[in-house]
Amino acid sequence: MNATVAAQMTGADILKLRKKRGILIWANVLALAPLLVLFIVRAVLHSSSPSEHGPAGGTDGFTDAIRLLGLIFGPLAAILIGAEAGAGDHSAGVFRDLVITGRSRVALFASRIPAALLVMFSISLLGYAITIAGTYLFADSLPTPSFGLLLEGLGFVLLADGVICVVAVGFGSLTNSKAATITALIGWHLVASPLIASITYLGRSRDFILSQALVHFSPVRIGDRGANITMGGATAVLILVLWLGVFLALGAWRTRTMDA
């Protein structure tokens, strides 16, 4: 398969995702609305009672927005996009029509990944634009992040949302069910992960929790705001690679071997 075909297949997968209006709207709402609420509510509180409530923006606002976009609501959007990309063809019943073309099933699976990432990144970038705007617009007297920190923050958001999106593509391709993928991954992300991370009895085995490994790459201190475990950089990279490798392998295997 040459680069032209690969690009066209990715373009086709992007087209499918773009035209899934419901999923796109929900993904945007999940990723962006909390940021708007964060900045607007805090700005209102600050303006009504400046002595009790600090400014909405500045480095504090930036930190909270990064946490929302990279660790909580951005990943929810990533799960929706990834599940649609991974299971959409099968759910619509068109997977067999793509297999009939004779194109390799692994190629069909692979083209879903860049498509999902590009669609997710467009949402992440929009969220990051809102983050920067809120950070500076409502900074008032607070210090603002440096340019370097802004770049690192962008890198972290793209990494966190991207990794979870790819995991969702793999999981969606494995289950071939959007509902099952969304339920399982959101349950894992919002409930199981924080719960397991808080059980100190489990010790170093908690290193394998994806969100805890992702926190390691955050340029802002998340600490008491959701990070329970500290780990070395090499361990964090290994955990990310492990999650990506396992779910990509499972998704590719299922796509290659299942009856279409």
């Binding site: 075909v5 619509a92 029509d97 793509l98 073309t101 009856d259």
Partner: protein, 327 residues
């Protein structure tokens, strides 16, 4: 994707092809040959294994044993090359409902390769969907989806089309239109069309060749005319000036197995065997009637239909209670 295919030999060939689901054989040692440039009917009752056979040919599911080739290429070993010039609709055609007809074709064209995009407009035109191509597929009727399914097949510029129950859900006008389109593809464009169906009439009207399948086994295959002629029952219509006497005469003829009056004529089932051909039996009955002083003004062999042949060879019918057969 390569489009190199073997130009000679049958369009589809299988040998000992078997597909098992546990202990049950959905396809059982099937040897099939589909000649090129023909419309081939794969005829069988529901559950006979038709769709399973198609799914194996297209690499949608693996065979348990046996071998198969499509357009001269072994499948699954050279699946990509084999399917490069194959278009197929398996069961009902499915699409992304949120996309337009044209966008759905663009998806498949992207997967097939860059040269395929140029075929989108001609394919839409061919199936009469040019003016509805920008509408979302969820607004399409079943007939329009069937036509879009055919357009999707045409993107491959197919040497072989494999269509699974293609007229399901079509109204009589749509069925007629579909028949004409398939015949044109075979007669004018030299394509091979493989149609699975449980509708005898449909296969008889569209196809040149057919195979009858039941419970995963090929019962018989060949040209439609040969299949129909292969019926073991030979019937003769006799018109005379005295039906009552004619019935008595025919009943006493050893060449007549059974006779009954139908709408002013006698329908005689001939006792054809190793010693008597159908023509000899007919001549003997004619002689007996004439010798009895009856005026014979009609003597016509009944043309065997594929339906009669089908009913004879499919074992299912004999297992079915009589009231279901009548229904």
């Amino acid at each position: 994707m390569t489009s190199s295919v073997d130009a000679a030999g049958p369009a589809i060939q299988t040998s000992g092809l078997t597909k098992r689901f546990g202990e049950r054989a959905a396809i059982d040692s099937v040897d099939l040959q589909v000649p090129r440039g023909s419309a081939f009917g794969f005829l069988g009752p529901n559950g006979a294994g038709k769709t399973t056979m198609i799914r194996m040919l297209l690499g949608l599911t693996h065979a348990s044993s046996g071998s198969m080739s499509v357009l001269g290429r072994p499948v699954p070993a050279q699946r990509a090359a084999a399917l490069a010039r194959v278009g197929a609709i398996v069961e009902e055609p499915r699409f992304h409902p949120q996309l337009s007809g044209r966008e759905n074709l663009r998806i498949v064209a992207a997967v097939r390769g860059p040269e395929t995009h140029a075929r989108i407009d001609p394919a839409l035109q061919r199936v009469g969907l040019s003016d509805r191509a920008e509408e979302k597929v969820k607004k399409y009727s079943l007939g329009m989806r069937q036509r879009l399914g055919v357009a999707r097949c045409l993107l491959a510029d197919p040497l072989l089309l494999i269509l699974d129950e293609p007229t399901n859900g079509l109204d009589p006008g749509g069925i007629q239109e579909f028949r004409e389109m398939i015949r044109a593809m075979v007669d004018q464009e030299g394509r091979t069309v493989f149609i699975s169906s449980h509708l005898l009439d449909e296969v008889e009207k569209i196809c040149d060749h057919a195979a009858i399948v039941d419970r995963g086994k090929i019962i018989t295959q060949g040209a439609i005319a040969e299949l129909a002629e292969g019926s073991t029952q030979h019937e003769l219509i006799v018109g005379t000036d005295d039906m009552g006497r004619a019935l008595e005469v025919v009943d006493s003829c050893p060449q007549a197995k059974q006779a009954r009056a139908v709408e002013g004529n006698l329908h005689v089932v001939l006792d054809v065997g190793a010693d008597n051909t159908a023509a000899e039996c007919s001549a003997a009955i004619n002689s007996a009637l004439v010798e009895a002083g009856l005026a014979v003004f009609r003597l016509e062999p009944v043309r065997q239909s594929l339906e009669q042949r089908f009913l004879e060879v499919t074992s299912r019918l004999s297992d079915t209670p009589a009231e279901e057969v009548v229904a």
